[in-house]
């Protein structure tokens, strides 16, 4: 079973993911945990050492931004670092290249296409 950490300041993201991936969750293919800020995500990672193999993070959050979170994760977890996919509402090249420089494994723009996301996850994790 693969654990995915979703980081977003919108709380309803949890209900949405749980429903969008309800089959995968039911089948035990995927497990989701949620953090509602960059700081919370860092704490979770500390407490649950490397449990999450994939992190899906929003870039635009108050406080620690998704990019900052990405930088810290990639800095700290060397072998093997968890996969980090960045999501942003601002589909701009600046954020994209910055995320790539910091070692993001993928870059999605909102609104998230869940069918595409599922395929990507399967491709990356299986």
């Amino acid at each position: 079973m693969v654990k995915i950490l979703v980081v977003d300041d919108e709380r309803d993201i949890q209900a949405l993911f749980e429903q969008r991936f309800r089959k995968e969750i039911k089948n035990g293919e995927l497990e989701f945990v949620f953090a509602f800020s960059g700081e919370e995500a860092i704490t979770y990672m500390k407490d649950h050492d490397q449990e999450a193999v994939l992190i899906l993070s929003d870039i635009n959050m108050p406080g620690m931004s998704g990019l900052e979170l990405l930088r810290r994760i990639k800095e700290k977890y060397e072998v093997p670092p968890p996969l980090v996919m960045m999501i942003t509402a601002y589909g701009d090249t600046e954020n994209y290249s910055l995320a790539m420089q910091l070692g993001a494994d993928d870059f999605l723009t909102k609104p998230v296409d869940f069918t595409a996301l599922k395929e990507k996850l399967k491709a990356k994790l299986v």
Binding site: A15, L16, P62, A89, D92, V112
Partner: protein
């Protein structure tokens, strides 16, 4: 040989007096006849002397003097000289009688000569007494006249000066009126410029908001779309479960769907509120105080301002802190105006922390917070930042219109002055600033509750 000395003197004195009087009272028509009397008097006395014709000329003198006296007494214009003329009347009468007596009855005359002489002397005394008193009266009158004349001249001078002054005043008044009209025009122009500037400032801050608004709307719309799509899938599943007769599973799915519909509704309303807020901001203020949830206003503008800045400068990031007093209640304010103030203060705060961040100070975490607090009869709203603070030398100027330390295009310098007007003039509240260089700034708003 006697000479008509006395009649000559009388005729000269009388003529002279009348001439003087005529001159002073501007009776020019007398001038010529009087000159003739003078000539006549001189002619008469000369003839008398040369021809030794006293016995004849004395009668001419009598006629001449009586004519002069009668004429003078008769003239209305010489009324004031009457007393003077009367001084000579007894003299003429007595001397005429004396002469007549001498001619008609020499014996009688000789017998009573002393009486005649005495009577003659009396007429002289009379003449002198009258002339003396008249002279005094005339002098007094003359003094009075001169005084009056001086007064008249003074009055005339005053009148002329008055006319001059009135002219000046009228001129000045016209000038001032023209200036006033010019100033009024300028004022009108300034007013319209001001309202244009206010509108421009509003549009600029709306521009700042647009990106934030787009972002803010995008999120709820994504949720609406996602939850409705998922719900459709769930309904298909529910039907399948019902077909299989798994009622319990179907019920579980149904409750998920209900939850989703609530979420759709919630996010729809959220988008709606954002659009309404945006419209409200761009609309000119109704100027009406309405019951308002200040916490909601603060929260909304915090997010909008933040995302607005983020949209412009993607690398920007700050921690937002809200400390909203749940007991704040609903207070009566002009919501658009208070929204603008909060937005202005927040935009300034974000700008300040962003500037400080550029200094790359180790461990610096940009922080912007908004706090609301209900007090007994007022509501406090504080907007704080941990930016660079405001230097002492500019702190007195920040509320002045057009004062800005920001580069052209980034600051209008109107934010704080408009905010001040809205809070102090529009809501009888207070807007104060507390700042420490290198540490940050707090803007305090106080709004009276029953204003």
């Amino acid at each position: 040989m006697p000479l008509s000395f006395a009649p000559l003197v009388v005729s000269l004195v009388l003529a002279d007096k009348i001439r003087k009087y005529a001159r002073v009272n501007s009776l020019q028509q007398w001038e010529k006849p009087l000159r003739y009397t003078l000539v006549f008097s001189v002619f008469l006395i000369s003839t008398e002397a040369v021809l030794s014709a006293y016995s004849i000329t004395k009668w001419i003198w009598h006629v001449y003097l009586i004519a002069m006296i009668a004429f003078s007494l008769e003239q209305k214009e010489l009324r004031k000289l009457r007393m003077f003329v009367l001084a000579f009347v007894p003299f003429e009468i007595v001397s005429l009688i004396t002469d007549l007596a001498e001619v008609i009855n020499v014996d009688f005359f000789s017998a009573n000569e002393t009486y005649f002489k005495n009577a003659m002397s009396l007429t002289y005394i009379w003449m002198v007494a009258i002339l003396f008193s008249q002279n005094r009266q005339f002098k007094a009158a003359e003094k009075e006249r001169i005084k009056r004349q001086q007064e008249d001249e003074l009055n005339k001078a005053i009148a002329i000066r008055k006319v001059e002054l009135e002219g000046l005043v009228a001129e000045r008044t016209a000038e001032l009126t023209a200036q006033k009209e010019e100033l009024e025009l300028t004022l009108d122009e300034l007013r319209s410029t001001q309202s244009q500037l206010i509108q421009a400032e509003k549009m600029a801050s709306l521009g700042e908001l647009t990106a934030g608004i787009a972002h803010e709307i995008q999120n709820p719309l994504n949720f609406v779309n996602n939850f409705s799509e998922v719900s459709k899938e769930l309904l298909d599943e529910m039907m399948a479960e019902l077909d299989k007769g798994n009622n319990n599973d179907a019920k579980e799915i149904a409750s998920d769907i209900i939850q989703n519909l609530e979420k759709i509704n919630h996010h729809g309303k959220r988008a709606d509120a954002i659009v309404k807020g945006m419209l409200q901001h761009s609309r000119s203020s109704s100027g009406q105080k309405e019951p308002t949830d200040v916490n909601a206003l603060a929260d909304e503008f915090l997010r909008l301002a933040y995302h607005g800045l983020r949209a412009k400068d993607k690398s920007f990031n700050a921690t937002l802190k809200t400390d909203l007093d749940a007991n704040i209640g609903i207070i009566k304010v002009i919501p658009q105006d208070i929204g603008r103030v909060i937005l202005n203060l927040l935009t300034n705060a974000f700008y300040a922390v962003n500037e400080r961040k550029k200094l790359n100070i180790a461990g610096y975490e940009p922080l912007v917070s908004i706090r609301t607090k209900r007090q007994e009869n007022k509501v406090e709203i504080d907007v704080s930042d941990n930016g660079n603070g405001i230097p002492q030398r500019v702190i007195d100027k920040i509320f002045q219109p057009f004062f800005t330390t920001k580069p052209t295009g980034e600051g209008t310098g109107l934010g704080l002055s408009l905010s001040y007007d809205i809070i102090v003039k529009g809501h009888s509240g207070e807007l104060r600033v507390e700042t420490r260089e290198g540490e940050g700034t707090v803007f305090h708003i106080q709004l009276p509750i029953n204003a």
